[in-house]
């Protein structure tokens, strides 16, 4: 199939970007979206032009490194699908596709479709862990955890840190990302001890990084490739308020 692409090109964080038109022919329905971009880049190389830079790595939907806005939607039209797992059978011959980076103040553009998501790491650094030193942990079965609890914890832990939630949110809020980590750890008995401290430091860091507030539109859950529930935001708010009260 032949496609008309409008792709965001931007040299660096401080330069001005623009949408640039490209045409691409010979796309097949079995190709992944990123393989389509590979094909386009190959043609740019032959024209001796600079390639379109985009983030990607595992190409199997788990590393969380890929992610672009496709026709205004984070990771494109399919539910619970990363950009790398989107295949061209979702498009038809003659389509025009708008491709832009995930945009947020806390995600500055590095170049073209590549963005800087270090702000996510900074939130985890602030407290997104259980303070267990390595090497000398107690016997695993000495902490029984109910099947339901561990499954609920897993549902939140499945977050791949891609940033689609932030990109799709009109406030550029990281509430789903942070809520997922809070929920993952706060549900587990071994994570409960630091739960109050954790939620306060992580939320504080989230604000410092320049993410917006959550206004409960729930758009993030719709675009999340792992289908993380917005209930994890509620859990975060519950843990946060509880921690504030306990602090006083």
């Amino acid at each position: 199939m032949k496609l008309y692409l409008k792709i965001w090109r931007q040299l660096n964080a401080t330069s001005k970007g623009e949408m640039v038109d490209y045409e691409i022919d010979g796309v097949t329905e079995h190709m992944s979206f990123l393989e389509m971009l590979d094909l386009l880049n190959e043609s740019l190389i032959q024209l001796k032009e600079r390639v379109i830079e985009f983030d990607h790595d595992c190409r199997e939907g788990i590393c969380g490194q890929c992610g672009v806005m496709i026709n205004g939607r984070a990771h494109g039209p399919l539910k619970q699908t990363t950009t790398c797992q989107l295949h061209m059978r979702s498009f038809k011959d003659g389509d025009t596709i708008y491709i832009e980076p995930f945009r947020a103040t806390a995600f500055p553009v590095v170049r073209d479709l590549k963005i800087n998501r270090t702000s996510f790491d900074s939130i985890i650094t602030a407290g997104g862990y259980i303070g267990a030193s390595t090497g000398q942990a107690p016997e695993a079965n000495s902490i029984p955890i109910s099947y339901e609890t561990v499954e609920a914890s897993f549902d939140a832990a499945a977050c791949i840190g891609c940033g689609a939630c932030v990109a799709t949110c009109k406030n550029s809020s990281a509430a789903l990302f942070v809520g997922a980590k809070i929920t993952h750890l706060a549900l587990l008995p071994q994570g409960k001890i630091e739960a109050s401290k954790r939620v306060l430091t992580m939320v504080d860091q989230m604000d410092k990084e320049g993410f917006g507030a959550c206004s409960n539109t729930e758009a993030c859950e719709v675009e999340c490739p792992q289908g993380i529930s917005v209930l994890s935001i509620a859990k975060m708010n519950y843990e946060y308020n509880k921690a504030l009260i306990m602090k006083k």
Binding site: L39, R50, Q65, A126, Y129, G135
Partner: protein, 636 residues
């Protein structure tokens, strides 16, 4: 003569003996020492976190935008550990034996025993970090069985075990970033190792965001940079996985061992077209419930559901009744290749076999199967548009794991003093074939439980060494060689992209040094690689400049792949036997099974770089088996 430094004494006591005698560094002195850790997968993150907790300064590097993206994240099925929770006869010795046998008796007894010995602690460690392993209703940990073994010792977190283990290690790493003991360098690629007086003292890294070339100095360097299966281009690996850190260390004097021992994973999605960039892996755990078959009749074009039961060949169950669909990976992959090559392949390109869940769904119900594998079935449908609850999956073997890597001794130190290699980057534990769910284990055990003893043992001798700064001439020299190579790439005026060369070397290796090898093919490959190398130097085309430039990054990696590919062929050619994943067509039984030659090849092949124009030099580390009897590896 290379010294593997295996401690004396009975097998079961070796590691405890080592730990009891290893030299320590006083807590007050640890803050005077810096360790560079390249790679933030399970091995790198766990090692960096553990050493930082002890009080050392860590400089951690990854080429991805976040340490959490490292390819450990992609492992699906599980991690092995001797807990014997199922009370089904597991023990350290049994796991040791399974791993030695799985590796076709081409690994070190002492290393493998230590791996099994430390495995139980890893589960404890991960649970403490909050890894949500599958549980039974009573709240205790659940596990399942995996290829090549007859007990249930595989712990799992749905189909995302690697991701969950990595998040545990990543969070421990960032906890140390918070304390200031770890400095993270994301989007950085190591391009050269710096040696001072023969010891590893630093690296040259390129900041991939700005293009800046940076010098980093340390008292020891750890490479935890993963495997190089991406040399085949089409593989289960991430696009950025590469061999450059290993290869550049190799060219500085570190030996490479078992270089051509590459595992082809039997349950991957087959290739469907020329522009394909990767072969997605479907967890081997699927083989617990899926049955593998091909049509009995060659060239059968019917859809799978219209081929009646009696016209299906469940070839693994037929050839290996004791293990059936759970036969080890090398055997399963080779059996699939044999069926495909003989014209029984399924799918549009006739390059696949069926993995069928209809019997399991009938016996256990769709709900049970969904609970076990829903994410894998969903992934399959996303990629192929096919519902595998209704129609069998199409699967095919793909390049996956490198048993080979940098040669290391018992302390995980390479032949360069102060340079350590952890996880898939070293060759140590898997012999000629890795058992499923042993890879996450090895990466974690190396980082959490071994390096924290062996690296301080080395560093204790470095406390009194003269401190080096990045002004040392060795840094200038290393930096110049990096700059020269980058400039050469940028000035290239050819017509062919890096991807062209990568795809070409990959195809060549699949054909000549893949699932099966022969003297003739390997000799042809060595000639073809030399031609390709000359073409790469003359015909490469790179656009863009020396700032952020993904084509420039790829050029360096592909240049290294081409040289590595040549060494792989030398390694495969020299070893005139079949063992594990290394199947030489000349050395097989009448039934097509691998025939090992213990009299002549019971050693590790460790290769030394001798310059661009000379062939590599072979060093042999004899493998001594004192606790197991060398047996024919049968899964029948």
């Amino acid at each position: 003569m290379i010294d593997s430094k295996i401690p004396d004494g009975p097998l079961a006591d070796k590691w405890n003996t080592y730990k009891a005698k290893a030299k320590l560094v006083n807590p007050a002195n640890r803050k005077k020492l810096t360790i560079i850790v390249v790679g933030t997968g399970l091995a790198g993150s766990s090692c960096a976190a553990s050493l930082a907790e002890q009080g050392y300064n860590i400089q951690s590097f990854c080429f991805q935008d976040s340490p959490r993206r490292a390819h450990s994240v992609a492992a699906q099925g599980g991690v092995n550990a001797v807990k014997n929770y199922k009370n089904d006869g597991d023990s350290v010795y049994r796991m040791f034996y399974d791993t030695i046998k799985g590796g076709d008796f081409r690994s070190r007894e002492a290393n493998v025993y230590r791996l099994a010995e430390c495995s139980a602690s890893l589960i404890d460690q991960s649970v403490a970090q909050g890894v949500p392993f599958a549980r039974e209703y009573g709240g205790y940990l659940n596990n399942r069985s995996f290829g090549g073994v007859q007990v249930s010792r595989t712990f799992y977190a749905r189909g995302q075990t690697g991701q969950q283990l990595l998040l545990g290690a990543y969070q421990s790493l960032l906890r140390q970033v918070n304390t200031g003991k770890v400095t993270m360098h994301t989007r950085h690629e190591m391009l050269e190792l710096v040696l001072v007086d023969g010891k590893a003292k630093g690296i040259i890294a390129r900041n991939l965001e700005t293009g800046a070339i940076e010098r980093h100095v340390a008292d020891a360097v750890v490479l935890a940079t993963g495997g190089y299966g991406k040399v085949y281009y089409l593989s289960t690996l991430a696009m950025g996985c590469n061999s450059s850190a290993l290869w550049r260390a190799h060219k500085k004097g570190a030996y490479m061992a078992g270089v051509s021992w590459i595992q082809f994973h039997p349950t991957c999605l087959p290739q469907h077209g020329a522009n394909q960039s990767k072969l997605t892996l479907m967890s081997e755990s699927l083989r617990n419930d899926g049955r593998i078959w091909v049509p009995k009749k060659a060239g059968d074009d019917r859809l799978p559901n219209s081929i009646p039961e009696e016209e299906r060949d469940y070839y693994l169950e037929r050839k290996y009744p004791a293990f059936g669909n759970l036969a080890p990976r090398d055997i399963s992959s080779r059996a699939a290749k044999e069926r495909i090559d003989s014209g029984h392949g399924a799918g549009p390109m006739k390059n696949a076999v069926y993995l069928d869940f209809s019997d399991a769904i009938a016996a256990q119900g769709k709900k049970t199967i969904e609970a076990k594998y829903s994410n894998l079935f969903a992934m399959y449908e996303k990629i192929n548009g096919i519902d595998a609850y209704k129609e069998p999956m199409l699967i095919s073997p793909a390049a996956h794991f490198t048993m080979g890597g940098l040669w290391v001794d018992y302390e995980l130190m390479t032949t360069i003093p102060g340079l350590f290699a952890l996880g898939e980057a070293n060759f140590a534990d898997h012999g000629a074939n890795r058992l499923g769910a042993n890879s996450l284990l090895q990466a974690c055990v190396d980082g959490y439980f071994i390096a924290p003893y062996t690296i301080p043992n080395y560093l204790s001798g470095e406390l009194k060494a003269t401190k080096i700064s990045t002004d040392h001439p060795a840094f200038a020299e290393a930096e110049n060689s990096v700059r020269e190579q980058l400039n050469r790439f940028l000035q290239s005026k050819g017509t062919l992209s890096t991807d062209y060369f990568h795809k070409t070397i990959g195809r060549l290796l699949y054909e000549k040094c893949g699932l099966s090898r022969s003297k003739q093919n390997l000799e042809e490959a060595i000639v073809a690689i030399k031609t390709l190398k000359a073409s790469f130097e003359k015909d490469l085309l790179i656009t863009g400049d020396d700032t952020l430039n993904s084509e420039l990054e790829k050029a360096g990696r592909v240049a290294d792949y081409i040289e590595l590919a040549e060494l792989m062929c030398y390694d495969a050619l020299q070893r005139e036997e079949s063992c594990g994943a290394h199947f030489r067509e000349e050395y097989q039984s009448n039934e097509g099974e691998a025939v090992r030659n213990d009299a002549d090849y019971c050693y590790v092949s460790a290769w030394e770089w001798k310059g661009l124009t000379n062939p590599p030099e072979l060093h042999k580390e004899p493998l001594v088996f004192e606790n197991v009897e060398l047996a024919v590896r049968s899964y029948k």
